[in-house]
Amino acid sequence: MELRINQKTYQVDADADTPLLWVIRDDLGLTGTKYGCGLAQCGACSVLVDGNVVRACVTPVAGVVGREVTTIEAIEADEVGKRVVSAWVEHQVAQCGYCQSGQVMAATALLKHTPAPTVEQIDAAMVNLCRCGTYNAIHAAVQDLATGKEHA
């Protein structure tokens, strides 16, 4: 089947029910997207599909044929994504870093749909798990992005 990932077209030989995550990581070698729980509970595998955040571990690959997938590898090609990464660097959000590609995808999706989210909207959208506990730094970075403070 033919997939569009990060503005490129890939020919993939996979069963229809293969999780998108396996195709991205194992078949295409894009290993920035992480495997966490495999049950859509943690968000480490978050990618964008047509600008919406989805959990690649529970997305059958057949469901994204004809749609535009964005992974962490190309996030800085996106204007919003680029701002998110800068804010992440500014706030030194990452600790071990394992969940961070998913966190960046979730923040990017939020800001694409809601450029100036309220605190409640940020809390409601940023639900990916982080075992290091970087939640405060994540929240601060997204808060800056929401209020335009990251340019200050």
Partner: protein, 447 residues
């Protein structure tokens, strides 16, 4: 005076004794079988393999085998209102199994619920359904159990039902009232496909054991399409086994015959994925049925009319704009815990992750299945030897009774769903009485 009293007593004693004698005869008698004079059985390999298929249709392994143990050596504990009983060793072991059974003995056990010596089996063995098996299928089933199954030297476990409730003879009276004793008779007005489907559904498939509501004596309220309660949906072991009739909400009204075949063959279709006890029935039985037999089942089930009075107004999808009800209780839990798979629009990702919009569990009056699957997650669906890629996780450690009640109430009242609200106390009750599903794929071996 004394004399007259004694004489009256004497006269009364006669009919009492006669009645007691008749009762004693009735409750211990050996039912007549078609194989009374059967010569010593011959075991043609084709007959053995035919019997293996009948054992698949009948899902004998479901109770008589345990994962990781010798096939058909018994041991499964089953809870009854009187106490726990255990499925028995049905391997051809001469001491603990059925190695000494003649074909007639085997038939009496399978179709009549009577073991050698006249001891009555508990109707946990679905002989009221197996009574409908054909003579040919009983003969081949016997051949399979005698020659296709390895003897296992494993003793049976006693039941823990206390005296006097453990007396078995009253079951004979129950049988007289509730268990048929003639094989399935084809209905000449119907075609061969329908009759084959009726035979499998009522007989070996024993679908009614779960899907037909039971009466006060734990009898299935109907054993064939002549009764309205037949396969009309029932609550059993913490799951609501839905209607298999043409009810659009709680039954198969929106399913085509082809979708029904797909469901029984692959465990999933655009409407639903097997879960709860049906996962076991799929893993061990329905997926092994031939395409012809599945088509027959579908034809038969699609002929059972629904009951609008019981089922309510037919469900129709209602679109809900994303975040239209962000403050509704349960909406946030749904968005963060459920929507990745089942979609913010409730449509799921057919055929892999089932829709909740229009799902039986979201429309049925009984909330048990919705609560149970949320608390405990799904067992692995193993189709053609391959475990499923996607599994419903257990939320019992992450969500409180109140969280689960709220999210399920949200699901049952969104996208046109019109199920009743879910109560936190019902979640609490099921939480106590159930365990999380195993993430290990379980397929019971027959050889």
């Amino acid at each position: 005076m004394n004399n007259r009293f004694a004489r009256t007593l004497g006269w009364l004693a006669v009919p009492c004794l006669v009645a007691a004698g008749a009762l004693a005869w009735y409750v211990t008698r050996q039912p007549v079988t078609a194989f009374e004079q059967a010569p010593a059985a011959e075991f043609d390999p084709a007959l053995v393999s035919r019997g293996e298929y009948v054992a698949r249709l009948s899902d004998c392994v479901a109770c008589h085998s345990l994962p990781g143990k010798a096939p058909f050596a018994g041991g499964l504990e089953m809870a009854t209102p009187l106490g726990n009983i255990h499925a028995t060793n049905v391997t051809p072991d001469p001491t603990h199994g059925i190695g000494r059974y003649s074909l007639a003995d085997f038939d009496r056990a399978v179709r009549h619920g009577v073991a050698p010596g006249g001891r009555r089996l508990y109707p946990a063995m679905p002989y009221p359904s197996y009574a409908k098996l054909s003579d040919d299928d009983v003969r081949s089933l016997y051949a399979f159990f005698m020659k296709g199954v390895q003897p296992a030297n494993q003793a049976n476990l006693p039941s823990d039902i206390p005296w006097p409730l453990n007396m078995r003879w009253p079951i004979a009276l129950w049988n007289g009232l509730f268990a048929p004793n003639t094989p399935y008779a084809a209905k000449p007005a119907q075609d061969a496909l329908w009759n084959r489907g009726a035979y499998i559904v009522q007989g070996p498939g024993h679908c009614g054991s779960c899907h037909t509501p039971r009466g006060l004596a734990f009898n299935e309220k109907a054993l064939d399409e002549a009764g309205k309660p037949f396969l009309a949906g029932a609550l059993l072991d913490g799951w609501y086994a839905p209607s298999l009739r043409q009810d659009p909400n709680t039954g198969l009204g929106r399913w085509s015959e082809a979708q029904l075949v797909q469901f029984l063959k692959t465990g999933r279709n655009q409407h639903a994925v097997v879960y709860g006890s049906m996962t076991e029935a799929f893993n061990n039985s329905t997926q092994f049925m031939s395409d012809d037999d599945l088509a027959a089942i579908a034809r038969y089930l699609k002929s059972l009319p629904g009951d609008p009075q019981r089922d309510g107004a037919p469900w129709a999808y209602q679109a809900v704009a994303a975040n239209a009800r962000p403050d509704a209780p349960g909406a946030h839990t749904y968005a963060t815990r459920c929507a990745s798979c089942h979609g913010l629009d409730g449509k799921g990702q057919p055929d892999w992750m089932p829709p909740l919009a229009g799902a039986t569990s979201a429309l049925a009056t009984e909330t048990a299945s919705a609560i149970n699957i949320t608390l405990n997650g799904a067992q692995r669906v193993v189709a053609a030897g391959v475990p499923d890629a996607y599994r419903m996780p257990a939320f019992r450690e992450q969500l409180s009774d109140q969280d689960i009640a709220e999210v399920l109430t949200y699901v049952r009242s969104t996208w046109g769903n019109h199920g009743s609200a879910v109560e936190a106390k019902d979640v609490g009750k099921l939480r106590e009485h159930t365990d999380p599903a195993s993430s290990t794929p379980i397929i019971l071996q027959m050889r």
